[in-house]
Amino acid sequence: MSENSETTPIGARGCESRRVVLEARDVSKCYVLDEIEVHALRGLDLEVCDGEMLAIIGPSGSGKSTLMHIIGLLDRPSSGIVTVEGEEVSSMLPNQLAAVRNKRIGFVFQSFNLLARTTALANVELPLVYSGVSGAERSRRAKEALERVGLGDRLNHLPNQLSGGQQQRVAIARALVTEPSIVLADEPTGNLDTRSGMEVMSILQDLNTEHGITVVLVTHDDMVSRHAQRIVALRDGKVVREEIVEKRVIAHERRAKFDAGGEE
């Protein structure tokens, strides 16, 4: 890590006066493959505070994606408790989980996961389709979301007619079109070049600072993680370190510097 951030011991976290929007308590995930057990998560604890921007880092295979899928309600833990805005999730039926994913959580995948042969606009409309917003209202909101990520002129492009960075921005637009309180992004810049990565980070940081949306992102990149307010490091399926970022990287400034030809 760098000299301008301070490391705090594990367990000293806590949201103080702020609400806990996402909580994982003693969560384990165990995959059984050919009778060999793989423990992706081993009794992990994590709290995500309302309105914070949190980065999760850790070596490959440490369980970052597994954790994101579980707190994004896309997967179930083998044991442990997950709560979303105070509500425990494990007792919910699949359709109730679908409703929570739809209304409160926006998920951005490393591999975009857009519907093929479907326009950017239709892709962004998708969550609204399932929340019962229809007609003009739906396309208006989808358009708005695409404009917010700078793709107002690419509404009718198909995913394969867009660059990787643009596809990721469509995915972000899809994640925020339902105005969720939480956006989870698993290596959102992982597949992108530096410049596209900066654009994606400034969108995510804007969401957090200007709209107060809680953002959790996974990254391998030190620089990317320091866009967040707090960094949690995983190893072997556990939180091994936690750090408050003293001097956040401001995505706009960094991008401006980059465009002016400054050093990375």
């Binding site: 699949p94 994913r101 739809n102 998920f107 093929a116 042969r117 969550p127 399932y130």
Partner: protein, 398 residues
């Protein structure tokens, strides 16, 4: 989410995967069209043949030389193995024995060449006696049938079918005109109304002569078959027995007597086999179509499973997924079915030029239900399985 929305999603998804949709539909189209067409041919041929026998008139009894049941003779035509042919005397004897109410007609059928001026035409001559018109319910367009006196005098008079008239007398009234039959001069005394039909030989391409004239023309004393029309429908079996008894002394076992019902039965049985064979081929086309549908659906399972993963990740409920895929499958099957039925039906109409066809509702229903069933099952079942996975498992599906 309401049904209208489900429809919109399904149509959008079909539109987004045009090739897949078209190939699936093609499977249904091929299966349905093939079955309809083949069964239509089978049924059409059967109807036509039985129809043409029924069209001869009713209450008919046919006597053939040769023993059909023992396989000695074969059909009734003048085959080489038939020992003894009927003659006019046999017919007259039968008429005497049966009395005046039941009409006996000796029949000869043979190829003939008709000629008017320098127009020549290949046709079939059918010869009978003065009862022919009544027994075979002849439908005269103009003129008359031959008189008894003309039969006994071997008069060279002829009645012509509609095709013959068209060919040899294209723009004049043939009545009273002369034509050559096998080199002899005949006077046209009647013309017949067009009957249509093509399978049992063009029934309009026939000329009709008195039996005695035909015998002289062909240089024979034999006749092909004897046909009896029973005056009373309830007496048919009895008359059949009397005919058998009358012919036995001279022919022993070397003759066969069938009622029209029996003849129809034998023919329908034969033609039924044809229909079953065609239906078998049709069944294979259905199967091939079905396998095509299955293939497309199974090949796209991983893509569709990922699609389902994406939809679930953004909040689709099980019901939303299922309604989308059920509607997709039904839309494809119904569209394919309708196109297949249209093609099969138009095809059978077009084929009527070559072979009689008759579209049967059960074939349409069966073909449609089968193809649609395969389409819906292989469209919906994988979707059902995928809809029960956790979103992340569906997204990871390989």
């Amino acid at each position: 989410m309401n049904l209208k929305e489900s429809f919109r999603i399904a149509l959008r998804a079909l539109n987004a995967n045009k090739v897949r949709s078209l190939l699936t539909m093609l499977g249904v189209i091929i299966g349905v069209a093939a079955v309809i067409l083949l069964v239509a041919i089978g049924t059409g041929v059967q109807d036509e043949v039985t129809g043409s026998i029924e069209g001869l008139g009713s209450n008919l009894i046919f006597a053939f030389p040769g023993n059909v049941e023992q396989g000695g003779g074969g059909g009734g035509g003048p085959g080489g193995s038939i020992q003894k042919q009927f003659s006019l005397d046999d017919a007259e004897m039968l008429q005497r024995r049966l009395g005046p109410d039941d009409k006996v007609v000796p029949v000869i059928q043979a190829a003939a060449i008709a000629k008017v001026g320098n127009r020549e035409w290949r046709t079939t001559m059918a010869a009978g006696n003065e009862y022919s018109g009544e027994v075979f319910s002849a439908d005269y367009a103009s003129g008359r049938g031959y008189y008894r006196s003309e039969v006994s005098a071997s008069s060279r008079v002829v009645i012509i079918g509609a095709s013959v008239q068209k060919e040899l007398f294209p723009n004049k009234d043939p009545l009273g005109e002369y034509m050559d039959v096998n080199g002899q001069r005949f006077r046209v005394i009647g013309t017949l109304v067009e009957q249509g039909g093509s399978l049992t030989g063009d029934q309009d391409n026939q000329i009709y002569l008195p039996i005695t004239t035909a015998q002289r023309l062909l240089g024979t004393r034999d006749i092909s078959i004897i046909i009896v029309k029973a005056a009373d429908a309830t007496q048919i079996d009895l008359i059949q027995q009397r005919i058998k008894r009358a012919l036995k002394p001279r022919f022993g076992e070397e003759f066969s007597v069938f009622t029209q019902q029996e003849t129809l039965g034998i023919l329908s049985q034969l033609l039924g086999t044809l229909t079953v064979m065609l239906a078998g081929i049709a069944g294979i086309s259905l199967l091939v179509g079905g396998i095509g549908i299955m293939n497309i659906m199974l090949v796209s399972v991983s893509e569709r499973t990922r699609e389902i993963g994406i939809r679930k990740a953004v909040g689709a409920k099980t019901y939303d997924i299922m309604s989308q895929f059920v509607i997709e499958a039904i839309v494809l099957s119904v569209a394919g079915g309708v196109i297949g039925i249209t093609i099969g039906w138009l095809g059978s109409e077009a084929l009527k030029v070559v072979v009689p066809t008759q579209v049967t509702p059960w074939a349409v229903a069966l073909a449609f239900l089968f193809s649609a069933g395969v389409g819906v099952f292989f469209g919906v079942y994988p979707a059902y399985r995928a809809s029960r996975l956790d979103p992340i498992e569906a997204l990871r599906y390989e």
